[in-house]
C-alpha cells in the first residue's frame, strides 16, 4: 500500500473509520426522524401517503442491498485468519494464564502449563510475526495495543486450542499486551510488553 501518498488514510485506524461511518449514519437517522415527526402534522390521504412511502421503500431496498453486498465483497477479503495471513518471518509462542502472559520465540511442543516464557519480549519491527496463542486455564484474549493506546491486533486464547495471529509491527516502539477477555477478578492487571526493535 502506498501509505506515504495518503498520510490521512494511513492515520485512519479501523476504529476511527467505524466511528466516522457510524456518526454520519446516526446523524442521518436522527435527521430523518426529526423530519418525519415535524412534517407529520400535514395530512395526506392515507393511500397516497402509503404509496409514496412504499415507492421509496423499493428504492431503499435495492440501495441497501447493493451497499451491503459491496461491503461484504470488499470486507471479506481482509480476514485475520490463517488462510489470509502473510508468510511468517518469525514465530512466537504465547500462553495466557491467570493473570499473566508467557511469551517466548519459536514454536513449542510443551503443554501450555509446562511452557515457560516471560511477559516481556523483544521482536523485530517490519517483519511478519506469527503468534501461536494458547491458554493454560480459562479463556483470555491476546490483544496488542500500540503506544498511542490503539488496539492493533487480537485473538482469543482458549483452553484446548491454538489460535494463530499474524502481525507486522509497523514501527519501532513499545507495545502493550492486554487481556481482552474477562478472566476473573484481577483481569485488568493481566498485561505484558512487546518491544519492537
Amino acid at each position: 500500500m502506498k501509505t506515504d501518498l495518503f498520510p490521512l488514510l494511513a492515520a485512519l485506524t479501523a476504529q476511527k473509520f467505524s466511528g466516522g461511518i457510524f456518526l454520519m449514519a446516526a446523524l442521518v437517522v436522527v435527521g430523518l426522524t426529526t423530519y418525519l415527526i415535524l412534517t407529520s402534522r400535514t395530512r395526506e390521504e392515507k393511500y397516497a401517503a402509503k404509496k409514496r412511502v412504499y415507492g421509496l421503500r423499493a428504492r431503499y431496498f435495492i440501495g441497501l442491498s447493493v451497499i451491503l453486498l459491496v461491503a461484504l465483497v470488499i470486507s471479506l477479503r481482509f480476514l485475520p485468519y490463517e488462510r489470509y495471513q502473510a508468510k511468517p518471518d518469525q514465530t512466537v509462542t504465547v500462553v495466557a494464564m491467570q493473570w499473566t502472559w508467557k511469551m517466548a520465540a519459536g514454536s513449542s511442543d510443551q503443554t501450555p502449563l509446562e511452557f515457560t516464557g516471560s511477559n516481556e519480549i523483544s521482536l523485530p519491527a517490519g517483519k511478519n510475526i506469527r503468534f501461536v496463542v494458547a491458554s493454560a486455564d480459562v479463556n483470555h484474549n491476546f490483544a496488542i495495543y500500540n503506544s498511542q493506546g490503539v488496539l492493533v491486533a487480537q485473538t482469543q486464547a482458549m483452553p484446548g486450542y491454538r489460535n494463530e495471529l499474524a502481525y507486522r509491527f509497523p514501527e519501532k516502539g513499545d507495545y502493550m499486551v492486554i487481556c481482552l477477555e474477562y478472566c476473573g477478578g484481577p483481569h485488568t492487571i493481566m498485561t505484558g510488553k512487546i518491544h519492537a526493535l
Binding site: T13, S18, A25, T42, N139, V150
Partner: protein, 499 residues
C-alpha cells in the same frame, strides 16, 4: 395443556381479560421497581471506571454480572409479558394460571441471581464463560451453583411460557406454515387474516424455545462439572452454545417489542398495519437470521470453522434488510403525513425505532470481521447493544406502559410525554455516546478500571468518558424515576371496568 374452555378456539372472554389485566399490572409494577435498581448498578460501574467511587474487583464484577443478567432477563420477561397480554386480550385465549406461574418463577430466578451475586459475589459475567466459574474464581462454589439453578429456573419459565403462546396461536391459526404466514406468498389473498403479532411471536419464540433448550443443556453441564470437578468440556463448543442462547434472547426481546408496536401504532395513526407478501418474506428471513447471526460473537476465536465465520457476517449483514425495509418502513408508513397527535406512546415508539436503527448501524459495522478485530471486546460492543436496549426496547416498553396506564387503554387518553421522558432520552444518548467514544478509542469492556492497563492515555480517556457517562446516567435516572412514578400512580389508580 387443554383446559375445558380453551377447546372453543375462539377469542378470550371478558372475565379472562380482567385477569390478564391484573397480571399485566403486576408485571408492570415489578418492572418499574426492578429496572431503576439495575440502572443503579450500571451507574456504580461507570462511577468506579471513572474513579469517582472505589470498589473491590470482586464487587465490580458481581455487580456487572447481576446487572447484565438482570437487565437481559427483566427486559425479555416484560417483553414476553406484554406480548402475551396483547395476544390474550385481543386474539387468543392464554392461560392466566400459566402466566402467573411464569411470573413467580421469574421472580424466584431473579431473587436467586441477586443472592448469588450480592451475597455470594458470583462474578462470572452474564456469559459465565466456561471454564471461568470453575478455575480461579474469587467466589464460593455455592454461588456458582445458585446462579446456575436460578438461570435454569428462568430458562424453564421462559420455555414453558413461549411454548404455551406458540401452541395457543397454532391451535387458533392452524400450524407452523400458517403462523409463518406462508398463505400470503401464494397468488391469492389468504381466506383468513393472520394478525402480524402472531407471525412475529412465532418468528421470535421458536428460536427462543431452541435457545432455552440450549441454555438448559449448557447449565446442566455446569451442574455436572460442579459435582464432578474432574470433568472437562470443550470450551469452544460451550461458547457456541452460550452465545446462541444469549444472542437469541436479546435479539428476540427486540422483536417481541416490535410485535406490540405493530398492534398499537395503528390506533394512533388511524392507518391499518397488516401482513402482506413483503412483510411475510421479511419476517421469514428474520427467522433464519436470528438463528445464524450469533456466530459474529466468535470471530476472534480463530479456531472456529471458517465457514461459520462467513455465515456470521453474511447473516448479520442481511438481517439489516428486513428489519429496516419491513418494520422501519412500516413505522414510516404509519407516521408519514398521518396527522398524529404526538402523545407519549407514538412518540416513544417512533424514537424507539430510531434507537433500534442507530444501534443496528453500530452492530453491522462491528459484525464486519475486518473491523471486529479492532472493536471486539472494546466498549463499542456494550455501546451497540445498550443502544438497542435502552434507546430501542426500553422506549418500546415505555410506549406500551403509557398505553396500558390509560384508564381504558385507548389512544385518546394517552398522556403527553413530560420533562422526565425527555431527561431520560437525553441522558440515554449522552450515556451511550460515551460508550461509543470509548470504543472508538480502544477502551476495553469488562474492565473494572483503566488504571492498570499500562497506557496512560487510555487510562485518562477511559476514566474521563466514564465520569461524563455517569453524569448522564444521573440525568437519565432522575428522568425515569419521574416517568415511572407517574406510570405507577396511573396503573394503580386504573379501575378495571365492571364486568
Amino acid at each position: 395443556m387443554r383446559s375445558e374452555n380453551s377447546t372453543i378456539a375462539d377469542g378470550p372472554g371478558l372475565a379472562d381479560i380482567q385477569q390478564h389485566k391484573k397480571l399485566m399490572t403486576v408485571w408492570s409494577v415489578t418492572f418499574l421497581i426492578l429496572f431503576p435498581l439495575l440502572i443503579v448498578l450500571g451507574l456504580l460501574m461507570r462511577a468506579n471506571q471513572g474513579e469517582v467511587v472505589k470498589m473491590e474487583y470482586s464487587t465490580f464484577y458481581s455487580l456487572m454480572t447481576l446487572h447484565g443478567l438482570g437487565m437481559a432477563g427483566t427486559l425479555f420477561s416484560i417483553a414476553y409479558a406484554a406480548l402475551s397480554y396483547l395476544i390474550a386480550t385481543r386474539y387468543v385465549k392464554l392461560s392466566v394460571a400459566l402466566g402467573t406461574t411464569v411470573y413467580f418463577l421469574v421472580v424466584a430466578g431473579v431473587v436467586g441471581l441477586a443472592g448469588a451475586c450480592l451475597i455470594g459475589k458470583f462474578g462470572a459475567g452474564w456469559y459465565l464463560l466456561y471454564p471461568l466459574p470453575f478455575i480461579g474464581a474469587s467466589w464460593p462454589q455455592w454461588s456458582t451453583g445458585l446462579a446456575t439453578v436460578s438461570l435454569l429456573v428462568l430458562g424453564a419459565a421462559w420455555l414453558v411460557g413461549s411454548l404455551h403462546v406458540v401452541l395457543a396461536l397454532s391451535k387458533k391459526y392452524g400450524g407452523f406454515s400458517r403462523l409463518m404466514g406462508w398463505a400470503y406468498l401464494g397468488r391469492q389473498e389468504p381466506e383468513s387474516e393472520l394478525p402480524p403479532i402472531a407471525l412475529i411471536a412465532t418468528v421470535s419464540l421458536i428460536p427462543g424455545i431452541l435457545a432455552f433448550l440450549t441454555a438448559a443443556a449448557f447449565l446442566i453441564l455446569f451442574l455436572l462439572q460442579l459435582f464432578e470437578p474432574s470433568l472437562s468440556f470443550n470450551a469452544l463448543l460451550l461458547k457456541n452454545l452460550l452465545f446462541f442462547f444469549g444472542h437469541t434472547l436479546v435479539n428476540i426481546t427486540i422483536y417481541l417489542a416490535v410485535g406490540w408496536v405493530y398492534v398499537l401504532f395503528p390506533e394512533f395513526s388511524g392507518r391499518e398495519w397488516k401482513l402482506n407478501r413483503v412483510t411475510v418474506y421479511g419476517w421469514n428471513a428474520t427467522f433464519l437470521f436470528i438463528l445464524f447471526a450469533y456466530f459474529h460473537h466468535l470471530y476472534m476465536d480463530f479456531a472456529q470453522p471458517l465457514s461459520l465465520q462467513y455465515i456470521g457476517q453474511i447473516a448479520s449483514y442481511m438481517s439489516a434488510i428486513p428489519a429496516t425495509a419491513v418494520t422501519i418502513f412500516g413505522i414510516i408508513a404509519q407516521v408519514y403525513h398521518a396527522e398524529i397527535r404526538w402523545t407519549a406512546t407514538p412518540l416513544a415508539f417512533t424514537l424507539g425505532g430510531m434507537g433500534w436503527v442507530i444501534g443496528g448501524v453500530a452492530a453491522v459495522v462491528d459484525s464486519t470481521i475486518a473491523i471486529n478485530k479492532a472493536l471486539h471486546n472494546t466498549l463499542w460492543v456494550p455501546a451497540h447493544f445498550h443502544t438497542y436496549m435502552l434507546a430501542g426496547v426500553v422506549l418500546f416498553i415505555l410506549g406500551f406502559l403509557y398505553y396500558l396506564a390509560s384508564p381504558q387503554e385507548s389512544a385518546r387518553e394517552n398522556t403527553r410525554a413530560g420533562a422526565g421522558f425527555w431527561l431520560f432520552v437525553i441522558g440515554a444518548y449522552g450515556f451511550l455516546a460515551m460508550f461509543y467514544l470509548a470504543g472508538a478509542n480502544s477502551i476495553p469492556r469488562r474492565f473494572a478500571d483503566y488504571a492498570t492497563m499500562g497506557l496512560a492515555s487510555s487510562h485518562q480517556i477511559g476514566a474521563l468518558l466514564a465520569q461524563i457517562a455517569a453524569a448522564f446516567v444521573v440525568l437519565l435516572l432522575v428522568g425515569i424515576l419521574g416517568v415511572f412514578w407517574g406510570l405507577f400512580v396511573r396503573l394503580i389508580a386504573r379501575r378495571t371496568p365492571p364486568l
